[in-house]
Symmetry: C2
Subunit: 86 residues, 2 copies
C-alpha cells in the first residue's frame, strides 16, 4: 500500500533563524501587522510504500534522521495518510 | 488573541521540482526503498494576532499570496490553531 507522507522541518526553537527574521521584517514592510515569531523551514511530501501507516511513519522518521533534517538544529513532524485521500 | 499558523508551500503538481528529484535520488542512494513522488517546498510557522481563527487564516492567505508563495508555481495550505496548544 502507498502512503502520502508529509514532513515539516523547522529550526529548533531558540536557535537563530535568519530566514524567519527576514520574512518577519518583509511582512512588516508590507504592512502586515500582528505577525510574530516567524520560522521558516522545509516541507517535504512523498509517497512511501509500506504495509501499514506505522511502518510508513517509521520509514519517514528514518529518512528524516539520516537525510532530510539536521538532527542538531532542526525538529520535524510527520503526517501519514492513505495516498489519494487529499 | 494569538493564533499559531502553519503554512506548507509546495511546487504545483506537474511542475519541475529539481530539489524533489535530488532528494528522491539521495534516498535511493541511501537504500531507502519505496519512496517516490518526492516534492520539496517551504514550511513556515508564525504567530498571528487576530480576533478569531477565520481572520487569522485570511491574514495568512494574504501573506502567502503577496509574499510567501509564488502564485504561479506553488500551492499552499494553511493550518490555524490557538497558540500554545501544540
Amino acid at each position: 500500500m502507498t502512503w502520502r507522507v508529509r514532513v515539516r522541518i523547522l529550526p529548533r526553537t531558540g536557535l537563530l533563524d535568519p530566514e524567519g527574521q527576514a520574512v518577519e521584517q518583509a511582512l512588516a514592510a508590507l504592512r502586515f501587522t500582528g505577525a510574530s515569531n516567524v520560522h521558516v523551514g522545509k516541507a517535504i511530501a512523498l509517497d512511501v510504500a509500506a504495509p501499514n501507516a506505522d511502518e510508513a511513519r517509521a520509514k519517514a522518521r528514518a529518512m528524516c534522521e539520516q537525510l532530510l533534517a539536521n538532527p542538531v538544529t532542526e525538529d520535524f513532524d510527520i503526517d501519514v495518510e492513505p495516498a489519494g485521500s487529499a
